[in-house]
Structures are given as C-alpha cells and as structure tokens.
Symmetry: C2
Subunit: 217 residues, 2 copies
C-alpha cells in the first residue's frame, strides 16, 4: 500500500504551513509513514475528478489502496488509529485525546476562521474595521478558557497526542493576528508543537513545494 | 456503570432540539443505552465545578465512572465506538463514517453558525441587514456541494452512521432560515433522520425538560 495525499499546487499562504495538508503531513511524519503528494491547481480542485474524492472541492484528500478519505480531521484520525504514536493506549485517555481533536476543530477553529473570512470575503466592506475587534474579542474569550485549562501542562492531556497535533495546528492560525502572544502558555504550547521533528519535516516539505512560487492571493 | 450527561436547565431554543445534548441523547438512544441528565443554569455552567468537566463552560458533558468527556463530537464518537449501531464494521466504511462526523462539525457547521453569531452577537449592528445575505450565500454554496454528493442516496455513505447523525443534527440549524428547503434532497435527508425512533425519543426527552419553560433568550 502507498499513501497519496493532495495539496495546493500553490498554497494561498505561500508556504506558511496553514494549508490543511500540513496537518496530515505532520501526522504521517509522527507515525513514520512515507507518502506521495499530488498537487492541484485551484481549477483542478473544482473539477469532477477531484470532486469525486472531495465533495467540497478542497485539499487534503488521502488515498491508500481502495480507501479514499477527505476532511482533515477524519484523515488524521485514521492515521492515528492505524499507527502507534498519536493516541494513548489507555482507553479513557484515548477517548479524551479524540475529544480534543473534535474540540480543536469544532470549538476553537470556527471562531478563528471568522477572522480569515472577514479578511478575505468581507475585507472591502464598510463594516470591516468596526467588526474585526468584535471577532477578536470572541477569539480572546475562547483562547482564555483554553489557556486556563492548559495551565502549565506540556500538552492538553498527558503525552502529546493527535488532540495536540490538531489544537496546535488550529492555534497557528492566530499567530499573524498577535492574539496568541497574549496567552504566553498557549504561545509556548504552540512553539513546543512546532519544535517537534515531525512537524519540522512536515513544514519543510510543504514549504519546499511552495518555494519560489508567489502566493496565489 | 451509569452514564450522566449535562444539558441546559432551560435551552436557549426553548426545546427545538438544537442544543447539543440532543445529539448525545440521539446517539445513546440509537445504541440503546440509558442515561441520566444533570441540568445546569447558565450561571452553573460558568462555575468551577462545571469548568473542571468542560473547559469552555458549555453543555453537554459525559460522565461514565472515571471517564469524563466534553465536546459533542468526542462524546458521540465514544458512544459509537463502545456500542454497536453507529459505525460500520467494515474498516474502510468505518473510516469514511468518522470522516463525515468531522466534515459535519468542521466543514458544514461553522458556516451555519455564522448566521447564529450574526443574529445573537451582532443583530443590533448597522451592518446586520447587509451582511446576512453574504452569509446565506456561503451557506448555500456549501449545502449545494453536499446536496450534489448526497444525490438520491438515503444516507451519506451506505447505512445510517454516526456521520449521518452528526450531519442531520448540524443541518437542522438551517431549518429556521428556509435555506434547507432549497435543497429538496437534503431536506428529505434531514426528515429521514428526524423520523428515526431514536431521534424521536431524544427530541421528546429534551422537549419535556424544557416544557413550560420560556426560552432563556
């Protein structure tokens, strides 16, 4: 069997690691699985061949023999379930790690994405300037709760898990805004994630793919 | 072992079934597990005793002996993994069903929640009227993609699964806006979910808990 994922031919972030293929690359690096990448243009992502793999016309997808998966959370979970290294063996700790994956994607990321949507889809609207601080306040509230829960722990619940991989990946979205730095323990948590050799390899691979290419927008 | 979940003492929706405990009740009903409910006021949800269970001060939580879980997706997944009835036995079909759970929560629900946030947090802002159609357009685009993928199938991928439970629950949020009815196959899909006896029992239970109580806001 060999694993093939899809990624942007040119990532909208120009290689900052925010495209979701980085999360899948990171998971594969943590468990030591090699993978191939098929790069797609924005146009190719909307064509029938790709829509058969991904109903929303996005990246990443994951192919391994007969198995086709889309949706980053589902892909990372599958990798974590197939290979040791991303989920605790203890049943309760495992359930909590999986819950943190969902928490990252449903309770933290949507609020952070509001800022992205406001910039890219409504940046030219008259309300843009006045609305941004409201979004930032909502993000600040959620990150404050997360910061309180993390406290001075190294990871969210015992050893590093797929829950941390997903939470760190989601929090990386806040770096450009400066909000992350308001919560030193979260900033340090993200830095610990980035310092992992598996993340370093994943980041380098996506950066190399974008090297010399201008951001698509 | 006995399962205890938490729910709103008075749901903000007055019992329309949109509070997230309904999703957990539904999952427990599908697999035939009895459960107790501890009802919480808005004030109690923000107190230390509950924040120890749920870092974001929300409902639902799930307690079963020593195991404490928060985050609806994680709870429903745990129920689905512990008991037969919500995940296919075939390994590939199982991975796809789990991916649909993540898709519901990370690729569909955030867009729908934009409408809720716009109403409750920014309903009094001068941009409210002009912004709503932009949000609706984004929702329409995503539901169109989902509608195309579903086609004339009964469920998203073979037999009913936790992926459908989550997607139907998420799509129920769009009913009040009328957008769901623009996609007859999605409306029929949601109706099939609501017609399941397990959903009916879950809905009735949360409604009974809210009976005679005015919506909290």
């Amino acid at each position: 069997m060999s694993i093939t994922i899809t990624a942007f031919e040119r990532s909208p972030d120009g290689g900052k690691g925010l495209a979701r293929d980085t999360r899948v690359r990171w998971a594969l690096e943590e468990v030591g699985q090699p993978y191939d990448v098929r790069y797609l243009s924005f146009q190719a992502m909307k064509e029938p061949a790709h829509l058969r793999l991904h109903p929303f016309g996005q990246i990443p997808t994951y192919e391994d023999g007969d198995l086709v998966l889309f949706e980053t959370g589902g892909i990372v979970f599958h990798i974590a379930e197939q290979h040791a290294g991303l989920l605790p063996k203890d049943a309760h700790a495992r359930a909590r790690a999986i819950a943190w994956m969902f928490a990252a994607l449903n309770s933290v990321e949507p609020g952070l994405l509001e800022l992205v949507i406001a910039k890219f889809h409504e940046g030219d609207k008259p309300w843009s300037g006045e609305r941004t601080p409201l979004i930032v306040d909502r993000i600040r509230q959620r990150l404050g709760q997360l910061s309180t829960r993390l406290g001075d722990a190294e990871w969210l619940d015992g050893a590093f898990s797929a829950g941390d991989l997903m939470m760190v990946s989601v929090l990386l979205r806040t770096r450009a805004s400066g909000i992350l730095e308001e919560f030193p323990n979260l900033a340090a948590y993200v830095a610990r994630g980035e310092a992992r050799p598996a993340y370093q390899r994943a980041f380098a691979a996506q950066l190399a793919a974008n090297a010399g290419k201008p951001p698509a927008h």
